[in-house]
């Protein structure tokens, strides 16, 4: 099982590297979003409030994550899915996709953080906790969006449907991340934000368990 998950994961990475346009598009999307934020808010050294900085950061990450990670299943051709179906168990495919989208979101958020530091300043004081925050939120986004994209890929108007289903589900994750980020900007230390971090972890485990149990039913059609 681990072997299969690993192989599927490596296949995702390879196919992504081969189609460089997707990764380049992702980077450009992120850069333009940050640049718009910079040119509308951050020009002339205007100092951003902690709340605005973290809200802006997470909204940009969220939209990029929707665009790229949400494609997990929507982009796949029917033939490939049929091929997987005859080859691997649904659980391992889901796990491979989730790990892949987790890493992609993580990569995306760290890239976003770097761009923010260059253009809008980096007010984060507890850098380690912020990294933990990014990792947890990426895991949450990855698992939730992968599952929802699997559901949406079966319907006709998948991209709109993904947004409609995704935003309300993701809001609770987003609120927690923003709160955690405000804490790290204020430099309150780990104990001030352990509540939020644990809740994020719990939400992640919950969606992971629910998706793992339910995915075979989506997969059957």
């Amino acid at each position: 099982m681990y072997r299969v998950v690993l192989d599927l994961f490596l296949k995702e990475v390879k196919s992504e590297i081969r189609q460089q346009s997707v990764l380049a598009g992702l980077a450009l999307y992120l850069f333009s979003a940050v640049y718009i934020a910079y040119s509308s808010l951050g020009l002339r050294g205007f100092n951003l409030d902690a709340r605005i900085w973290s809200a802006l950061f997470w909204i940009i990450i969220l939209f990029s994550a929707f665009g790229i990670v949400g494609k997990g299943f929507i982009g796949e051709r029917k033939g490939i899915l049929l091929y997987y179906h005859s080859l691997v168990s649904p659980g391992s495919l889901l796990l491979a996709k989730m790990i892949y989208s987790f890493l992609l979101t993580l990569f995306l958020s760290i890239g976003g953080w770097l761009m923010f530091s260059v253009l809008l300043g980096n007010p984060v004081q507890d850098k380690g906790i912020f990294l933990l925050n990014i990792a947890l939120s990426s895991a949450c986004f990855g698992s939730t969006l992968t599952m929802l994209s699997a559901i949406a890929s079966k319907a006709g108007n998948s991209n709109v449907l993904l947004a409609v289903m995704g935003f309300p589900v993701v809001i609770s994750i987003l609120l927690l991340s923003v709160r955690l980020t405000v804490n790290t900007i204020d430099g309150l230390g780990f104990y001030a934000s352990s509540d939020e971090a644990l809740t994020l972890l719990a939400i992640h485990l919950l969606t992971l368990a629910v998706s793992y149990l339910l995915f075979p039913y989506i997969w059957r059609s």
Binding site: I151, S211, S221
Partner: protein, 226 residues
């Protein structure tokens, strides 16, 4: 044989009559009986009999919806799918009524209908999650696929609703009664007069929700069969 059928029929109508009686009791006793005078809430404390049971009812109906979604996934009978969908419909109506009654109450107690309170926001987002369920159902044309994906999303939505309603609002400061030092449920618990109306009200509203769902399920089955 005939007698047991009669007994079943009596049971079938019995809980509906019980629901009507409980709600008549709730509306008269809830509006006329004495209530404790607490600061800030005063007479608006009577919203407890109408606003709070809506949330109890909504959670119960969503739970039934999720339960039937599991039953559908386990044996694939279209009947359970109808049950699951109709329970979700009534649940959303209850949630909307809960928000509206809360807004009427907030208008007098907090000064504005939408105060951006964590509990209000959590409830509104939870309703959005369930509204997306109906959009998903509507956008799938194949009946069997719509039922299966609907059931999967239903369980997912139920899992997403738990943090939105039960966990997140408790992590933030709220002006809602029962949190942040405001007079709330624990205080009413000490008051037996309110308990005597509140528990029947919860039961009555839940039974009423079941009744509406029952009617909708029967209409749905008739339209499918004809």
């Amino acid at each position: 044989m005939n007698r047991s059928k009669d007994g079943y029929k009596k049971l079938q109508t019995g809980w509906k009559i019980l629901s009507i009686l409980l709600l008549v009791y709730t509306c008269t006793a809830g509006l006329l009986m004495e209530v404790p005078r607490l600061s800030i809430v005063n007479e608006s404390i009577r919203a407890l009999y109408f606003h709070v049971p809506m949330w109890f009812g909504m959670v119960f109906l969503f739970f039934m919806s999720a339960f039937n979604a599991i039953r559908y996934l386990r044996n694939g009978s279209a009947f359970y799918d109808i049950l699951s969908r109709e329970f979700a419909t009534t649940g959303v109506v209850y949630g909307a009524l809960g928000i509206v009654t809360g807004m009427i109450w907030a208008n007098y107690t907090w000064g504005s209908p939408w105060h951006g309170d964590p509990k209000q926001n959590g409830a509104a987002v939870a309703l959005l999650v369930y509204l997306a369920y109906f959009i998903l159902r509507g956008s799938l044309s194949n009946d069997e696929q719509s039922a299966r994906l609907g059931a999967v999303y239903n369980l997912f939505a139920f899992a997403a609703m738990i943090p939105l309603i039960f966990i997140l609002p408790r992590m933030a400061d709220s002006m809602h009664p029962g949190s942040g030092g405001n007079p709330g449920f624990n205080m009413y618990d000490l008051d037996n007069r309110m308990r005597m109306v509140f528990y029947p009200a919860v039961l009555g509203w839940i039974l009423f929700g079941l009744w509406i769902t029952d009617l909708r399920i029967r209409i749905k089955r008739l339209t499918i069969n004809s």
